[in-house]
Symmetry: C2
């Protein structure tokens, strides 16, 4: 049994204040709990939503590590497609040649990127298993390349540094540079019935 | 300003009960907040810890999809290396030939698997960026193959179904089967200074 708000009204104001002070602080803010998933049939919007909600993703490359050369290799990278509320749809990265996988991308920029709402509070909140189609996730294919245009560098920097403030203080001797995922193919799993494809045109046109 | 427990003692018992009833329910249990990360220099233990804490991971394959054939492809899969507290170190999967990536694995079982404490509450709690070495993560290389031994099938089933109860009710016409990641190479990023390698022998010998 839990008490309703009616019971609260019956308490003297000072006691009510006391009660409020005793309540634990609000939980860590979780973007997906604030923004609602677009209707699942609007697949391009769902893809844009996932890309904007996720702060990191798993990137697949063809390894250049001697032990596993030529084999598929998965690694974690922070990313951002824009500051909160300013989605561009383009996943930007802040990379260093010292990172495993970055050597792979320099040798062969072809890459896969997967992002899931399992990374956010969404799937846990709704009790969707990470492998359930209802725990919406996407698979992107394309290339990862260095951002060279000054205007785009400024946008990538703003996108990443506002959502990953720690990056500002990462050691300069790591030769960090901004990079982006150039999306050529998109698969969305957001409902039963298998992965759906979305073209980059549909994706970039969709309301995030 | 927040009130200490001393203030609670001064309240009449009935009011204390009222207060307790008004408190929100406990948060979703988060294993990493319950189990402590092993000392970071014990790299093999850290790898075992991450594998046991994570309920899902990103798998890299060589794609067999006509649109991106031969390219690296990243996808999300639920996994379990054992029931809670019963870690084996072997990531088990519950796969269907209908899933994207499973066709890739049937054509070429070489795969990468990456797992990060960013998937758990750990990195957020400690305010480590997902790409920070302090947000411990691992990259595994190996093959994904079907589990055929009856004893191992029983263990895989118990490992997965206890931690992914939804799997029990997944549609039987999807021809689900148990599979495992046969680990050949392990890289751990859990501190500054670059990825450290761990041999499968060290990994399986380590206390999880």
């Amino acid at each position: 049994m839990r008490l309703g708000t009616a019971a609260l009204g019956a308490l003297p104001p000072l006691l009510l204040l006391l009660l409020l002070l005793l309540l634990p602080p609000p939980a860590w803010p979780d973007a997906p709990q604030a923004r609602a998933l677009p209707p699942r049939e609007e697949v391009a919007r769902v893809a844009r939503f996932i890309v904007h909600e996720c702060d990191w993703g798993a990137v697949a490359t063809l390894s250049t590590l001697p032990a596993v050369g030529g084999r598929p290799f998965a690694n974690i990278f922070s990313l951002s497609d824009g500051p909160a509320g300013g989605s561009s749809g383009v996943p930007y990265f802040y990379l260093s040649p010292l990172q495993t996988s970055v050597g792979d991308l320099q040798a062969n920029p072809n890459a896969g990127l997967t992002l899931s709402l399992a990374q956010t509070g969404f799937c846990k909140k709704h009790e969707f298993d990470p492998q359930s189609p209802l725990c919406a996730h996407i698979m992107l294919s394309g290339t990862v390349t260095k951002v060279v245009n000054d205007t785009e560098i400024a946008f990538a920097k703003k996108s990443l540094f506002t959502r990953h403030p720690e990056m500002k203080s990462w050691p300069s001797d790591h030769n960090w540079f901004f990079a982006k995922f150039n999306i050529t193919n998109i698969w969305v799993i957001d409902f039963f019935g298998g992965a759906k494809t979305v073209t980059p045109e549909e994706y970039f046109k969709a309301k995030p």
